[in-house]
Symmetry: C2
Subunit: 655 residues, 2 copies
């Protein structure tokens, strides 16, 4: 790397830039540098490293003694050994309060989410006991709250139900759920281990916003069953089937006592949420409101025996901790492939959510999260979970936010939560017997409302209309068809956008900004002026096989349009076509062929092709392929201004 020097050093001769000025005889004309050649292995290793190890994970191991290396290795697999050594009572106080708060929030949510996955409520609680413990030892996020979440529960429930009916074959359904959970964990861990974590970046933010919003509405609609006390309800999740189901039972199926209980507590929850938003210090009000609602409503139903009036209640919740479920996982047979498929999909979605949460809070507190290590932790947690009767757990956005606001310091808050859930499983489950389903529905509706991120949708609308189309596509796909279709739409649109990006790069005509030697896009800087006889075009992307033809054709079209204008205005004809290559970071053989074709076609029309500022990779390849020789070294310049200057005398002669 070059030495640092103050920029004024040697600046006695102020010149030039993104272009020299068109003033003759400058003392320094810098040539375009050709970087030293790398051999195949170096080249390959560089790309490999940037792709899979761009974060240089072994950095800290450099130049360390062996014992230290072992310790660092242990810490990197189990971060608990890292932060555990500096753990103190003050931190514990923060974690204790945060842990108790999220426990009070998670218990009622877990019971409801399990139902979204068509599972018994206890599996929701199980999933808030084992996975958080595993995560606490292996995960690197300090703020994430682990457990079942609404969207993944719904997705898993939909995918599983498509294979097995949970009402007629509950045992097989449960086994498939564990199988899917196992493979969700394997998928997550494998993505992390093979450092393929970047795959989840392929789901665009816009698509995720739309998908989450749609899923939230779908989940809320599903809750109408419990909320209105309807007994026979559609199994489909699309809005039309659900509303049809709701209104067709309006006259005989709704239960006013249920609605009364549900509506009053939903109002209570919404008010408490509003209070929490108004004052950050009162965050604990919405956090404990659900548990309070459960307690009050359960007590109320128990006293009034409202269950005899048709108010549906939880009825039965098994006591005791997670039984082993290792031997229930399908490792062979018909359901193995289905379990893998469902697991991969659910695992990826769960991962997307957890990683987004981890990143968000890490950015807030300014610490680093190793995405790939995080995925391994989440994966191991689900694999262990699948063997102890848990279904897919991941990071919950709402509970993580509460965890953060309650002042959590480390993953110990997850351990506290886990212990509270354990105690609940051991001693308190019978108390949930009289909890009305309507309360659970109200809690879930309240919990999923923030997933409908209207602000984000508005921002997307403002910033990028195509992104907004993607967002709405995923949204309507989920609410009008199903979560799977919505997800498929989200993924497809995301990919289509990536492909669009690489096939149709932007190009721009540049002009000289008055009184400078800067050349900029004339659409952005209307004051920029074009040099007569010269057309300067900037190509804003690497030139690869996917866009090389487009780039060539687009440049030719710019030229055609410009020639027509010049002709109409009676200006001198265009003799030089300068391509500003600064943004062209790389080129492949197809790209070089396109440049060759362009060069030949311009030659026939007596127009000289000139390149300005090709980057290190590009200039290297142009030399290797001998295109640089074909074009002539004299026609490659460091800056557009240098290039323009070299053209000008020739033009002046002719005019």
């Amino acid at each position: 790397m070059s030495a640092r020097a103050h920029p004024t050093d040697g600046d006695l001769n102020p010149a030039t830039d993104g272009g020299d000025l068109p003033i003759k005889s400058l003392p320094h004309r810098h040539k375009v540098g050709v970087p030293p050649k790398q051999n195949m292995f170096q080249d390959f290793m560089y790309t490999f490293k940037e792709t899979f190890f761009h974060d240089d994970p072994l950095r800290q191991f450099k130049d360390q003694p062996k014992s230290k290396k072992f310790m660092l290795g242990l810490q990197s697999v189990f971060p608990v050994f890292d932060w555990g050594r500096n753990y103190n009572l003050k931190k514990f106080r923060g974690d204790l309060i945060a842990g108790l708060t999220i426990a009070s929030l998670c218990i009622p949510q877990d019971i409801g989410y399990a139902k979204l996955a068509n599972l018994d409520p206890k599996y929701g609680l199980y999933s808030s006991f084992v996975p958080p413990l595993v995560y606490a030892c292996m995960g690197s996020s300090r703020d994430i709250a682990i457990g079942p979440v609404a969207v993944v529960s719904l997705l898993l429930g939909t995918l599983l139900r498509a294979e097995i009916d949970p009402n007629t074959n509950p045992d097989e359904y449960l086994r498939l759920a564990f199988t899917a959970t196992f493979f969700a964990g394997v998928t997550e861990a494998a993505l992390g281990f093979f450092r393929l974590g970047f795959l989840i970046d392929f789901l665009s933010h816009a698509a995720v916003v739309g998908f989450m919003g749609g899923a939230a509405i779908t989940i809320a609609l599903q809750q109408l069953k419990g909320f209105l006390g309807i007994k026979t309800f559609t199994k489909k999740t699309d809005i039309i089937a659900v509303l049809d189901s709701v209104f067709s039972s309006a006259h005989h199926g709704w239960n006013w006592q249920t609605i009364l209980i549900g509506a009053s507590f939903l109002t209570f929850l919404l008010i408490s949420k509003f209070i929490g938003k108004k004052s950050k210090r009162l965050f604990w009000i919405p956090a404990i409101a659900p548990l309070i609602s459960v307690i009050i409503s359960t007590f109320f139903v128990y006293i009034t025996r409202a269950d005899k009036q048709g108010v549906q209640i939880v009825k039965h919740l098994d006591k005791g901790i997670n039984p082993s479920s290792f031997n229930q996982i399908y490792f062979s047979g018909h359901y193995l492939a289905k379990g893998i498929r469902i697991g991969v999909v659910a695992g990826m979605v769960a991962l997307t959510e957890a990683v987004a949460i981890g990143r968000t809070f890490a950015a807030m507190k300014d610490y680093q999260i190793d995405g790939n290590k995080e995925m391994v932790a989440l994966g191991v947690m689900n694999v262990v979970g699948s063997m102890s009767s848990c279904y897919v757990a991941t990071g919950s956005f709402s509970r993580s936010a509460v965890n953060f606001m309650a002042g959590c310091q480390t993953a110990v808050s997850n351990i506290i939560m886990s212990i509270v859930v354990l105690l609940t499983l051991l001693f308190l489950t019978p108390l949930f017997k009289y909890t009305p389903n309507a309360i659970l529905a109200a809690i879930i509706i309240n919990a999923v409302i923030p997933l409908i991120d209207i602000q984000a949708a508005i921002l997307i609308f403002k910033v990028d209309k195509l992104d907004f189309v993607a967002c709405m596509g995923a949204f309507f796909g989920v609410i009008f068809v199903s979560v799977e279709i919505g997800l498929l739409i989200a993924v497809s649109i995301s990919f289509a956008k990536i492909l669009l990006q690489v096939t149709r790069p932007r190009t721009a005509v540049l002009g000289n900004i008055p009184r400078t030697s800067v050349y900029r896009n004339i659409q952005q800087y209307p004051e920029a002026t074009m040099v007569p006889g010269v057309l300067t075009i900037r190509v804003d992307s690497a030139i690869y096989f996917s866009n090389s033809n487009y780039v060539r054709e687009r440049i030719q079209r710019w030229l055609l349009e410009e020639e027509e204008k010049v002709k109409a205005a009676g200006l001198p004809r265009i003799q030089f076509l300068i391509i500003e290559m600064s943004p062209v970071t790389d080129i492949d053989t197809s790209g070089i062929h396109s440049l060759e074709d362009l060069y030949k076609s311009l030659q026939k029309r007596d127009i000289q092709l000139i390149l300005a500022n090709p980057g290190p990779l590009v200039i290297g390849k142009l030399h290797l392929s001998h295109f640089a020789d074909m074009l002539g070294q004299d026609n490659i310049f460091l800056t557009v201004a240098d290039a323009v200057e070299s053209c000008c005398p020739k033009i002046s002669d002719e005019v």
Copy 2:
């Protein structure tokens, strides 16, 4: 668009650019321009137009009277109405010679290629009669020679054989072949009509080179059956199965008379090809050599009755022109889906070849080809072909080259060829009875050799090692497994490369090139010096959801590394991080979030984030999302040099 002005106008005050110099009080500090806002519709239409209509196909219709518009429309669907009006005897002379030459080349090739598709030889000739006629009316390439080609024949044969055994069910096999041809045509026409032609650009040049080379070797190996006179031959196409089949029959299955005939004529063909290469004027020698070989060898076999010595001959070739096959196409039932699948694959590959040929020769003669219109022509030609007993036809590279060299002027050369094939079908087919299969094998081997493009492979190796891996992957996939697998590998690697490109954009640290105000990559320009206290990083790609996290993390790593260096050297700490945004052509909400995260994280460490030269789209979005306000308008500069200058006084104060 701005007015043109001579660049020296107003340059009394020579300053600045890709950076002002760090000299105080410059009179002009240009602000970063914010382009006028576009409404959703304009924005959407612009993207839509650039994606699907970047060539502005309706350009010529602008401002024309109605009658003229009708004529132009007719000409655009049937270019024959365009070039036909200027057709003259001189052009006809060129076309006649070229047409006769390619006819002499195509007749023996057609017979051999039909065998690659497991079809009777006559179907090869049929496919050189109808499709060229259709193409001549609708196609826009002047040099392409239409007919069956080796690679598509092999691919079609392999795909069809996987569904139906051509020996036991020849009728069904034939029907499926027509069905596949029909849908290949529909696919091609649909891609063109819906202007999705850019999809074929997703197959990278490197992958195509590897695939073609592998297919050529596979085809040559298949010819060993005819060349060595082996009777029982494997049905697999991988090199191991074929060589096993060849050598296991070495002692009893080879026929020396066949080998003698084959080898001598292959030598003759290779010598004639060598002569043609040495002198361009003798191009007609390799062009007519195959037909001469066929005539001589057929005569020889007829005289010597070598067929009684075990020399295999064509035996029977039906007389008469193409029968209708419309009612043989499966429009329903079991085979419909299979026909569609095979047709889509074969159609895409055929399209890739034809479009590449069209582009190559158009570039040589400097005329424009409308890729999408071309696809419609190729599609219609195959649809019509499928109804008249033809299988998939496309442009043949070798015959097109001969056509070009023989001086063809328009698509009339295809009509001439077609007429010659017609006459052959009507009168000459009985003469092929004694043509030895070994000659056809020799002709095909000779024809596919140029597909093994070692020069291109070497260039790819030199230019891009990853591309070379893709090339070899496709190559070995074809020869060791099958054409399908090779094609799948080619497509997968091409896509992986696109995804890699968008997830892992390059970033570079910039330094000031001495005695200029230019900032360039310090790895390319080792003389560039960095400004103390300032780190300048260029991001070389649009920042989208697919790379936003990577970009942020990579910038943070550059900063970390630089801080360590600065610390070790005892230089002033880094206070400013300048991001050169010139190559950042676009940004989405994920990208903006990443910048926000970066900004917040830098704030905590007391480092100021500065942006230099954001493009029109980017600056517009930064304003819409209020990130520009968060960052402060004062921290967005037109050039890196401007930005550095603004930092310097503050740094000087502190040091």
